[in-house]
Amino acid sequence: MKSYISATVFSQRETARGHFLMALKTSASFRESLPGQFIMVRTDTNDGLFLPRPFSIYSVYSRGGDTFVEILYKVVGKGTEVFSGFTQNDVLNILGPLGGGFDVPSACKKIFLIAGGVGIAPLSFLAQRCRKEIHGAEITCYMGAASSEALLGVDRIEESCSVVKISTDDGSRGYSGPVTELFRCDMDLYVDDTVHIYSCGPNPMLRSLHELLKGRQIACEVSLEERMACGIGACLGCVVKTKSGGVSDGPARVCKEGPVFDINSVDFGDDSG
């Protein structure tokens, strides 16, 4: 039977203001994690937190016989605030890996990643895997953040990608404007229908991407984020509207049918098609 297991904080540091990178020492079962999957994290300490919280897996690695899971997150509420205070040797409870991962066809050679803010986390994991497993993969990453100080994991993503293009909302680094605009400028130059796009970021960003790709036959998967209570498909707290699913099973659960979806199956509420 699967269950929550205890995981020890191996390290934690603030990588950008309000953003944290935590490494957890955990069981070898996490080696099977796929890019796009997530974990639920819970604390039993008496800090007023109740429910577990979901986090995308940023990376999984083994060292000296131990397995480590990394999460990269932004402090957005009480849960993440409490987690950001944990330090080495503190113990948390984790469940996972959960949900489904990104689907990368082995024949796929041209990969585009489009990340907004902390959305870089699952895409960075994906880039690492593709670099390792797909011979000759050409990976281009577009990453956006509010400002240069808020950019996350640039060094790591640069190791896996052939090209990394950066945009910031305030223009303090790279292109000035939304990352989807930066992508749009390049799109007609060299994005053809054989590429695969993977994206994660705030909903408005994903909606813009959906607009951009309309009418094109480009495969694009997005990883979505929602508040969750259980993470295993029971509470129905994290649902999103989809276009494809029949009515009988209702809206799709981000934790179970997702968190990765075909961009065309998600109803972003922007149009009918």
Binding site: M1, K2, F50, E226, C230, I232, V239, V247, G250
Partner: protein
């Protein structure tokens, strides 16, 4: 010493008094990887309506102090899809299957109950007259003793299996509703459903839930639930099932001591999907340590 864990809930024999609470346990299958479902006294599945329902928009949940608010909006596959797609698998589990039902009209309740009563593998129905999330549904039935009695009688008339009525705490006097459903023929009563609540994002000055209000559950509501179960136990003679904020065996035993014949575990499943098995083990340990051979000898032993 071999412990006797079996309880009888209005003609429904359960191998132990621990069930799951509707709306927190999906259709059972969601937990198969995390728990040996055969251990449960009963599985109470997600509330079903005559037709499928999409439920409310997100956000649907919000954590609050020692609890959570939810406004799922009774999303479900509908009673027919449940029977075709979910029940065959669930029937193979060696636990009683109790199906929670709701409707927007008396006729809906009756139709759903009729369909389930004729389905193979359903041990009992639990009538939700209390869900606070749906604008036209639940609340109107559960807060009026006359209407609550009418629904109970109508469902009872078409059911060949035991009928449990689940009460809402959002009423002035819960004993009045309990007596009414008892005289209308209910075989058992379960309580409490969630307490209506609200939470506001002060930066955005917006409610945290898309539905504005939601149902509060978790340990925050346990003292209220316990008080209401105690009141109802003293007001009726049919069996009572205690629900509300049970996180561990100690909580469950409190409900048994005030007089509940069985308990339902809800929100705790979200924190630990295997929690119900732990609760059963720990109740047994408590009984052994205290020389209690039969779980029924614990029920209603509150010393005042």
């Amino acid at each position: 010493m071999k412990l006797k864990m079996g309880v009888d809930i209005g003609g429904l024999a359960l191998k132990n008094p621990v069930m799951t609470a509707s709306g927190t346990f999906g259709y059972g299958e969601e937990y198969a990887d995390y728990l040996d479902l055969n251990r449960l006294g009963a599985i109470v599945v997600k509330g079903l309506s005559l037709n499928p329902r999409e439920g409310n928009l997100s956000p649907r949940t919000m954590e609050t102090a020692s609890g959570m608010l939810n406004a799922v909006g009774l999303q479900n596959v509908g009673v027919r899809a449940f029977i075709d797609d979910k029940l065959p698998w669930l029937s193979r589990v060696d636990s009683a299957v109790i199906v929670n039902i709701f409707g927007e009209s008396l006729e809906d309740y009756v139709k759903v109950a009729e369909i389930l009563s004729n389905a193979e593998g359903v041990a009992a129905v639990e009538v939700n007259i209390s869900c606070p999330n749906v604008k036209r549904g639940g609340i109107a039935f559960g807060s009026d003793p006359v209407v609550a009695g009418e629904v109970t009688r109508a469902v009872k008339d078409v059911s060949r299996i035991p009928v449990i009525v689940k009460l809402t705490p959002n009423v002035t006097d819960i004993t009045e509703i309990a007596r009414s459903v008892e005289s209308a023929g209910a075989d058992a009563i379960s309580l409490i459903n969630t307490i209506t609540g609200m939470s506001v994002d002060i930066e955005k000055r917006m409610p945290h839930l898309e539905n504005i209000t939601g149902g509060l559950s978790g340990p925050a509501i346990k003292p209220v639930a316990l008080r209401m179960v105690w009141e109802v136990v003293n007001a009726v003679s049919i069996p009572t099932i205690g629900v509300g904020g049970i996180m561990n065996a100690r909580d469950a035993i409190e409900f048994l001591i005030v007089g509940a014949k069985a308990v339902q575990v809800g929100t705790a499943n979200f924190l630990n999907p295997g929690v119900t098995a732990d609760i059963i083990d720990d109740i047994e340990r408590f009984m052994s340590e205290n020389g209690i051979g039969d779980i029924n000898d614990l029920t209603g032993t509150l010393r005042i």
